[in-house]
C-alpha cells in the first residue's frame, strides 16, 4: 500500500497541539548564562570609541567586542560585506556593536546600559522611496549591492511592433515572517574548544559551515543541532547564522553555556524581513492582445548589507515575466542599500514582489486593448513547448495555462465579471473579482542542484525497544511545513515498507549528511527524491540479504513490508532484525542527480532557470463598503499544479496558510521605517490576519508530476504566496474603478487614491 498520496496526519501534530513540544527556550540548560546584544542607536555613523562605565562591576559579566572574534569579523553569506559585530562604519540602527553575557538576563541588560559609544553620525538614506527618487534624478550617489539582467530578443523592435505601450510603477513594502516562535539559540562550549549550537533554524549546515572562518574553528569543532522549530518562513534561513555567531562568541569567551532568545519585540525590530520592491513595467502589445515587448525595472531595498540579496534578486527577475509568451524581454534587476535592517529570505524570495507587478500589468494591458482579463491571459499563456524569458523550453510535465482554464471554469469567472460594480456611484457596496496566473520555479536556480550535490541517508538500526527502525538522515528540517511527515511517506514507498518503520529525528550536523538548506520549495521535491533513492538502495540491500538468508538464494522482492520469493514470505521486521543481528546498523546514502538536460548560464541568465515549475491561478472576490472603504475578501478560488501531491491534507494546509500570509501582505501588514526604526514593531501595531479575517478558500490540485524525480513532487511551499496581491488589486479595480499600485492596500490608501481621482 502506497503512503504517497494519502493524508497521513502530521507526525508531530499531537505533541504540538497539546503543548508538549519543548522548543529551545523550554529546554533545560543548567547553569546557562543569558546573552544580550548591544546595538547602535543611530542608522548611519562612524564608531569612534567604546566606554565601559567603571561604576558597574564588570567582573560579574562577560563582554564581547569585535576584538574577541577569533577569525574574520565577517558573516559568510553570498555577498560578504557584513561584519558580525560592527567596529567601524555603522550601517543601520540596531547594528550589533557588542555582546554581554551574564548569569541572568536582567543583569546582562543592566550591564549593557553601562556601555556607551562615541559615534559620529552620518547622513542616511532609509527607505526605498528615497532610493527611487534619487535613482530618477542622479543614481550615482546610490550604493548598489548587485544587479542582474535578463535579455531576450530585441526590446526596441518589440516596442516598434506594438499598437499600445503602457507603463506603470508598483510598490511593495516590508513583510515580517511572524513565525510563532521567536528566534533563539543556545551555545554550549566543550572542554576541547569545540562549540555546540542548538536552536530554532531552517538550515543547520549554514550555521555549521558559514561560522567556521569567523570563529576560526575546524569543521569537527562546530556542531549544530536543530531544536523543534515553531515556524520560520525564511526568517530562520540566514538569520540564525548571525545569531549563532553572537551566542557562540559569548560561550567561547565566558566558557559557559549561553542562551540568546529574542522576545517578540526584539524579534520584529531586529530580524530580517521581505525586501521592499519597486518595479516599473513598460509593455507593448498588439490590438489582438499579443504581447510584443516587456521591459521591467525590478529594484529591491536590500537594507544595510548585501547578505543574500543577490539570490533573492535572481529569483525576482526570473519571475518578473513568467507564464506568458513574448519574444522581446528586457529585465533590469538591482538591489540598493538603505540604512535599515538588512532584508532577507521570506517565503517566495523575490517572486511575490515580481508577480505583484506583472499580474497587475496584465490587467492594465487587457483593459487597454478592450479584452477581459482572462481572454487577454489565455491569448498569451504558455503551453508546453513554448519558451520562457530565459529561453527555457517548457516540458510536458508543466501544467502551464491549464490551471488558468480550470480556475476560470471552477469559479465561473465570466459570470462574476459581469457583476462587478466598477466604481458605480449608486452602489452601497462595491463588488469586484480579480485574477492572477503565475508560476514558481522549484528548487535552486538553474543548475544549482547539480553544483550543490544534496546528500541524504537512511540508517537501519534498532530503536529503544529493540525493534528495527529506518532513520532518515538529512539536514532538511521540520519547521511546521510537514517535512517530518512527508519525507517518511516518500521513504516508505521507496523502500516498499510500512510507514511505521520510518522515523525522522531532528538533524544534527554530527550525524547527518548535507541535504542542503530547507528553502526554495526544494525539500519534498529534491530531498524527497534523494531519500527515495536511498530507500531503493536499502531495499536492494535487504532483498539481497533476505534472498541468501531466508530464500535459499532465490531472488527476493520486498513489497508492502513483506519479502517474498516464489510462495515463501518473510516479513520486513524479521529480515531487518536478522540483518541487524548479523551486521549491526547500516547506512545507505544517496545523492541527488539533476536532470543532465538542464543547461544554465549563470552570467547571462540564459537557459533552464529551474528544473521544473509549479503553477497556480487564483481568483479573488471582494466587497468594499462605500461608507468605510473596508475591503472584505469574500472568497478565493484557486487551482494549483505542484506535481505529485504527497500528502493532500498537508498540501492543502500549505496552500491555506500561505494564502493567509499573502492576504496579510496584500491587505494588512504595513511596516514603515521612521528615524531608522520600524514603526510597527509589536503584534499590537504589526497587523497580521486572524482566523476571522480568513476568507473561504476553494482550492484544488491538478497533478502534473515531475517525471524526472520520483515520486514526482514539485515545489509547494512558496507558490501560495505569489499571486494573491495582484488578484486583490485587480478585483479592487473591478469593484471601485481605481488601480491600486502599492501594497498593502488599506482603507486609508484607497481613500487617498479615490480622493485624488475625484480631484483630478
Amino acid at each position: 500500500m502506497a503512503a504517497v498520496g494519502t493524508s497521513v496526519p502530521r507526525r508531530d501534530g499531537r505533541e504540538k497541539v497539546t503543548g508538549r513540544t519543548a522548543y529551545i527556550d523550554d529546554m533545560s540548560f543548567p547553569g546557562a548564562w543569558h546573552g544580550v546584544v548591544v546595538r547602535s542607536p543611530v542608522a548611519h555613523g562612524r564608531l569612534k570609541g567604546r566606554h565601559l562605565d567603571p561604576a558597574f562591576d564588570w567582573s560579574q559579566v562577560v563582554v564581547v567586542t569585535p576584538e574577541d572574534i577569533p577569525g574574520e569579523n565577517l558573516v559568510h553569506e553570498i555577498i560578504k560585506d557584513m561584519p558580525l559585530l560592527c567596529d567601524d562604519e555603522i550601517q543601520y540602527l540596531g547594528e550589533p556593536l557588542a555582546l554581554v553575557a551574564a548569569p541572568t538576563k536582567d543583569l546582562a541588560r543592566e550591564a549593557a546600559g553601562y556601555i556607551t559609544f562615541d559615534i559620529e553620525e552620518l547622513p542616511s538614506i532609509q527607505t526605498l522611496k528615497e532610493v527611487i527618487a534619487q535613482y530618477k534624478t542622479d543614481e550615482g550617489k546610490l550604493h548598489k549591492f548587485c544587479a542582474q539582467t535578463i535579455v531576450k530578443g530585441d526590446i526596441e523592435k518589440g516596442f516598434e511592433e506594438a499598437d499600445y505601450i503602457i507603463e506603470q510603477e508598483y510598490w511593495a513594502g516590508h513583510h515580517e515572517q511572524a513565525y510563532l516562535e521567536p528566534q533563539g539559540l543556545v551555545a554550549v562550549p566543550g572542554e576541547d574548544g569545540s562549540v555546540l549550537i542548538e536552536g530554532s533554524m531552517q538550515c543547520p549546515y549554514f550555521v555549521a559551515l558559514e561560522l567556521l572562518p569567523t570563529l576560526n574553528l575546524p569543521p569537527e569543532k562546530l556542531r549544530v543541532r536543530q531544536a523543534p522549530t515553531g515556524g520560520a518562513f525564511g526568517g530562520k534561513e540566514e538569520f540564525p547564522t548571525w545569531l549563532g555567531g553572537y551566542v557562540a562568541l559569548m560561550a567561547m569567551k565566558s566558557k559557559r553555556t549561553v542562551k540568546l532568545i529574542y522576545d517578540r519585540h526584539e524579534d520584529i525590530r531586529y530580524t530580517t524581513k521581505r525586501h521592499p520592491s519597486w518595479s516599473r513595467y513598460k509593455t507593448g502589445f498588439k490590438k489582438d492582445g499579443a504581447i510584443t515587448a516587456v521591459k521591467v525595472e525590478f529594484f529591491l531595498d536590500g537594507g544595510a548589507y548585501g547578505t543574500l540579496s543577490s539570490i533573492v534578486l535572481a529569483r525576482g527577475v526570473l519571475h518578473a515575466f513568467i507564464g506568458y509568451r513574448c519574444d522581446n524581454v528586457f529585465i533590469d534587476g538591482r538591489v540598493y542599500r538603505t540604512h535599515s535592517f538588512p532584508c532577507g529570505a521570506f517565503r517566495g524570495f523575490g517572486a511575490p514582489q515580481a508577480i505583484w507587478g506583472l499580474e497587475s500589468q496584465m490587467d492594465l494591458m487587457a483593459r487597454a486593448c478592450d479584452m477581459t482579463p482572462h481572454a487577454f491571459r489565455l491569448r498569451n499563456a504558455v503551453v508546453p513547448g513554448d519558451t520562457t524569458a530565459t529561453g527555457q523550453t517548457l516540458a510536458e510535465c508543466e501544467a502551464c495555462g491549464t490551471v488558468l482554464e480550470r480556475t476560470l471554469e471552477k469559479c465561473d469567472f465570466e459570470a462574476k465579471l459581469a457583476r462587478c460594480t466598477r466604481g458605480a456611484q449608486d452602489a452601497d457596496t462595491w463588488y469586484g473579482v480579480g485574477l492572477a496566473f503565475f508560476a514558481h520555479g522549484s528548487a535552486f536556480t538553474g543548475d544549482g542542484e547539480a553544483r550543490f550535490k544534496a546528500k541524504a541517508a537512511l540508517d537501519l538500526a534498532l530503536d529503544d525497544a529493540e525493534r528495527p527502525v529506518v532513520l532518515i538522515r538529512c539536514s532538511s528540517v521540520e519547521m511546521g511545513q510537514g517535512a517530518h511527515t512527508v519525507l517518511p511517506q516518500i521513504v516508505a514507498d521507496g523502500l516498499c515498507a510500512d510507514l511505521r518503520f520510518v522515523q525522522n529525528p531532528l538533524p544534527d550536523t554530527a550525524l547527518v549528511p548535507n541535504s542542503g538548506p530547507t528553502v526554495a520549495s526544494r525539500t519534498t521535491m529534491i530531498v524527497g527524491n534523494t531519500l527515495y533513492g536511498a530507500g531503493r538502495k536499502l531495499k536492494a540491500k535487504l532483498e539481497a540479504y533476505a534472498s541468501a538468508r531466508f530464500f535459499e538464494s532465490q531472488a527476493a522482492i520486498l513489497k508492502d513490508s513483506v519479502f517474498s520469493a516464489g510462495h515463501d514470505r518473510v516479513d520486513f521486521e524479521e529480515v531487518a532484525l536478522a540483518y541487524l543481528k548479523e551486521h549491526g546498523p547500516v547506512r545507505v546514502e544517496h545523492q541527488y542527480e539533476l536532470d543532465p538536460k538542464i543547461a544554465w548560464n549563470q552570467e547571462t541568465f540564459e537557459g533552464d532557470a529551474y528544473p521544473s515549475y509549479s503553477w497556480g491561478c487564483n481568483v479573488v472576490e471582494l466587497e468594499i463598503d462605500r461608507a468605510t472603504l473596508q475591503i472584505e475578501v469574500k472568497k478565493v478560488t484557486g487551482v494549483f499544479d505542484v506535481g505529485r501531491v504527497i500528502n493532500p491534507m498537508l498540501a492543502m494546509g500549505q496552500l491555506e496558510g500561505g494564502f493567509l500570509q499573502a492576504f496579510g501582505y496584500a491587505l494588512l501588514e504595513r511596516i514603515g521605517v521612521r528615524n531608522g526604526a520600524y514603526d510597527a514593531d509589536r503584534f499590537q501595531t504589526y497587523i497580521i490576519p486572524t482566523m476571522l479575517d480568513a476568507p473561504p478558500f476553494d482550492f484544488e490540485f491538478m497533478e502534473y508530476p515531475y517525471t524526472f524525480s520520483p515520486p514526482g513532487a514539485k515545489g509547494i511551499g512558496e507558490l501560495p504566496i505569489d499571486g494573491l496581491s495582484p488578484a486583490v488589486a485587480n478585483a479592487i479595480e473591478m469593484a471601485a474603478g481605481i488601480r491600486m499600485t502599492e501594497i498593502p492596500v488599506t482603507p486609508e490608501s484607497l481613500f487617498e487614491a479615490l480622493r485624488k481621482q475625484v480631484k483630478s
Binding site: H265, A627, T628, Q630, Q684, P747, F751
Partner: protein, 294 residues
Amino acid sequence: MTRLDTMDCEFPETLADALELMADDTTRGVPLSGGTDLMVQWAGGVVAAPQRVISLAGLPELKGITLKDQCVVVGAGTTHAELRASEVIQARLPALAAAAATVGAQQIQARGTIGGNVANASPAGDLAPALVITGGAVVVAGVHGERRVNLTDFFKGYRSIDLRADELIVRFELPVNPDGSREMFRKIGTRSAQAISKIMAACRIRIEDRTIRSVALAVGSVAPTVIRLTELEAWLTGRVCDEDTIAEAVRRTVSAVSPIDDIRSTAAYREWVSGSMIRGFLDAFFNAEARERR
C-alpha cells in the same frame, strides 16, 4: 518578563479593605482587574512594572449587573463576556452589549473588565462611546466615601480621568435606553478580531414622525478622549431627519472631530469615516422608523 510572583501582591476580600490599602502611601498599589491592559504594558516596557499590586478580583462589591428603576447598575469588575451575554444589557443598553462584543476576542473578553477599560483611559477604549451616550455616571470610592461623576466629565483628556490615587471605580449607573428610542454602535478596527479601533461611534436616538426628538452621539479615537457631539445633538434635536439634515450632520461631525495620523490610520480617513458613521446611524434609524410607520 514581568511576573506577578516577583511583585508584592495584595488580595483584599472586601471593598473596604481594598480602599484601606489604597488610602495609605505605604500600602497602596496599582489596582489590577483583568490585567489585560496592565500585563501587556508591563511586558512591553511601556509602563514600568510596579512594586505593589492590589488585586480587585475578589471584591464582591464590584460584581453584578442589576436593573434599578430606569438605571442599569454595572459593577466595575464586570467582564466584557458578562456584558455581552447579559439579557439586561442586551435589551436596555444594546450599544454597550455591541461594544463589549467587539473587544479583542473571547479570551480578552473573559478577563477584561468595564472598570479596567474606563480606568485605562485609552482614546481607543471601545466601551467609552457606548457609556457616554447613556448620560450616566460612574461611582468611585475612597476611604472617606463615594463620589458620583457624570461619565462625560469623567473622561478628562488624553489618558486622563477624574480619579484620585486613593480611589477605585466601583460601579456604573447607566440610564436605560427609553422605550421608542434606539441605540447603535459601530467600530472600525485594524482587522476583524483582536483589533484596536481606528475609530468607533455610538448613538442613542428617538425619532417620531420623521422628527428627531432626542439624540446622543459619541465618537472615539478621533480626539484625545471620547467626545460627545453635543453641539450637533442640539442642532439635530427637533429637526426632520431628511437627506438635507443628514448631509449637514455629516459636515458638522467632520468639523467636530480632531483626529491624528498614527500607526493605525490617518487623520484624513478618520475624519471622513466619522461623518460616514453618523450618516450610517441616521440612515438606519430613519429607515427603521419609516418602516414602522408604514
